[in-house]
């Protein structure tokens, strides 16, 4: 395939993926917006006023970055895992497998679809949060880059989950039992400096902590973790997950018999 043919193939997957979640926006875009609005009302307004400041910021302002991150993580992951598993289940993944398009185009296409969903939902949640909190941007570059990298990372993770999944149960196990706990314990609602020493150290094993903190730095200029550590961890994860995804695709794991 020529490069321009590859670009056409890539664009085809991305547009198809975009239209898929837009068509069912009531299931895909609306729920995270409602959930986040509830968080703002309960934690920000009702309880937050009792909590007082966190690291010198209103509690509401402190949790906004983490809540946006949470929406980006669950939606990027969820988009790729359900779309790719769905195409395995209905076997229309074969439409791509018989075509001359190389595997990395398939992978990048799905990841770009997950990132697109992350961006749409992330922006929607950001708009909602502006009703409750005055957003300040401390460092736009950090904000945008952490946002996109996190979205890529979890799109890749969702892809791997879909490759291994053999049932619809399998695509909800990881989000429920791994992703949700890690997200809640990833420093969205508190600074880890409030934790006892042991739990502070334990928290450092949670990769989501690094993303939430780096993203919060983009808004507020504060972080529990040095920025360079955050970026390194995120990028290493992306490289590992991408290589593993390519390995699975090249082997035909779960898609070629």
């Amino acid at each position: 395939m020529t490069n321009s043919e590859k670009i056409t193939a890539f664009r085809t997957i991305v547009v198809k993926e975009f239209l898929r979640f837009i068509r069912i926006w009531v299931q895909t875009v609306l729920p995270p917006v409602i959930t986040t609005a509830l968080y703002f009302i309960i934690f920000g307004n009702l309880i937050g006023s009792q909590i007082g400041d966190m690291e010198g910021f209103r509690y509401m302002d402190y949790i906004v970055p983490g809540l946006i991150m949470m929406a980006v993580i669950t939606n990027s992951y969820g988009n790729v895992v359900s779309s790719f598993y769905g195409s395995k289940f209905q076997r229309n993944v074969e439409e791509m497998l018989v075509s001359p398009m190389p595997n990395y185009i398939i992978l990048c296409g799905y990841v770009a679809g997950g990132v697109a969903r992350g961006i749409i939902v992330g922006l929607a949640v950001t708009l909602i949060s502006m009703l409750f909190s005055e957003l300040h941007v401390y460092n736009g570059w950090v904000l945008v880059s952490v946002f996109i990298l996190t979205s890529i990372l979890f799109s890749l993770a969702g892809f791997i989950n879909a490759v291994y999944a053999n049932s619809f149960d399998d695509i909800s196990i990881v989000p429920t039992f791994v992703l949700t706990p890690l997200t809640y314990l990833g420093g969205i609602f508190y600074s880890i400096s409030l934790l006892p020493e042991f739990w502070q150290t334990a928290s450092l094993a949670n990769p989501i902590l690094y993303m939430v903190n780096a993203f919060r730095y983009g808004f507020l200029g504060i972080t529990d973790i040095h920025l360079s550590v955050s970026y390194t961890i995120i990028i290493v994860f992306i490289i590992v997950l991408y290589s593993f995804s390519m390995h699975l695709l090249n082997k035909g794991k779960g898609i070629r018999t």
């Binding site: 664009r11 085809t12 074969e94 439409e95 497998l97 018989v98 075509s99 001359p100 398009m101 035909g252």
Partner: protein, 311 residues
């Protein structure tokens, strides 16, 4: 002439240890209309799966128009259009989108793909349905959708795995006409089928596979010449009670208006008719009792079975 398909010593052992192909070699010439026949479970879909890279082979090699499916997979796949046995499209996607996306995976820009999709939707009688989702189509329409999808990138080799299974007679015949037409325009076609009539009607060459082994690979004409005898059923215009005596033919009276004739190859049909005419027996119509290849086919499978048991 270029070989459209070249398969060498293809073996497949599935993950559960089952040996589906025991070393199949097969060539199909460019421009051919080739039938792959065999009972259920013989390994037809496995061969097609390997050709189209949906099934990983255990050993052997496959080339499509000279390009190897391992080393030159992009070219090999571009030459191939596949209509699989099972429906494999997203039933929640509008059918026009299914076609345009498929072209996109081959690198065909949208504007060009739209023209091609329009043409194929018209030709295959799906134009009225182009905005419908795939799940709203009837079984026969779904088959035709898969044919249209396989042709979006104008492949030189079209492979159809049981394309007329579960399709009613009328649609089956229009499908045959369509396939004949694109074959005449130069597309090489390979199809698997259960219907011997279909193979006889469409195909020039034929391979018969059983238990993962190719037991026959020849031309349709040669195969038919092997028929030792044919059985005809004659509907008579007048009732007869006494069995006519035609030398060399074996006749049975099914009822007083129906005569069954077993005609050996060396006997001409003319002899039979001249006898009947002489005796004032009027024949209204004549047909083959079963498809004439059916018995031959069954005999071959029996022989292959016997060989399999002996080894």
């Amino acid at each position: 002439m270029t070989k459209a398909l070249q398969i060498k010593d293809l073996k497949k052992i599935y993950d559960n240890g089952f040996t589906a192909l025991k070393g199949v070699s097969l060539d199909v010439e460019e421009g051919d209309f080739y039938a792959l026949l065999g009972p259920n479970g013989a390994g037809k879909s496995t061969i097609i799966g390997i050709i189209s890279s949906l099934v990983n082979k255990t050993s052997g090699s496959v080339s499509i128009f000279g390009d190897n499916t391992d080393n030159d997979f992009a070219l090999a796949r571009t030459y191939l259009g596949l209509v699989p046995q099972e429906f494999n499209f997203n039933v929640f996607e509008p059918i026009g989108e299914i076609l345009i996306n498929q072209a996109g995976y081959y690198g065909i820009p949208r504007a060009k793909a739209e023209l091609k999709a329009d043409e194929l939707l018209h030709k295959l009688g799906l134009w009225e349905k182009r905005l419908d989702m795939a799940r709203q189509l009837s079984g026969g329409m779904k088959r035709r959708l898969m044919i249209a999808r396989a042709l979006m990138h104008e492949p030189r080799l079209l492979i159809l795995d049981e394309p007329t299974a579960g399709v009613d007679i009328e649609i089956r015949h229009t499908m045959w006409e369509f396939l004949k037409e694109i074959n005449a325009q130069g597309t090489t076609i390979i199809l698997t089928t259960h219907y011997l009539e279909e193979a006889e009607n469409l195909c020039r060459n034929i391979g018969i596979i059983d238990h993962g082994t190719l037991i026959e690979n020849t031309s349709m004409r040669e195969l038919i010449s092997r028929l030792q005898q044919e059985t005809f059923v004659l509907d008579l215009g007048n009732s007869i009670t006494k069995l006519p005596d035609v030398s060399g033919c074996n006749l049975t009276l099914l009822d007083d208006h129906t005569l069954e004739v077993i005609l050996p190859r060396e006997r001409a049909v003319n002899d039979l008719f001249s006898y009947l005419t002489k005796h004032d027996i009027k024949v209204l119509s004549m047909r083959n009792k079963t498809n004439r290849l059916e018995q031959l086919f069954m005999d071959m499978l029996d022989k292959s079975e016997a060989r399999g048991n002996a080894s």
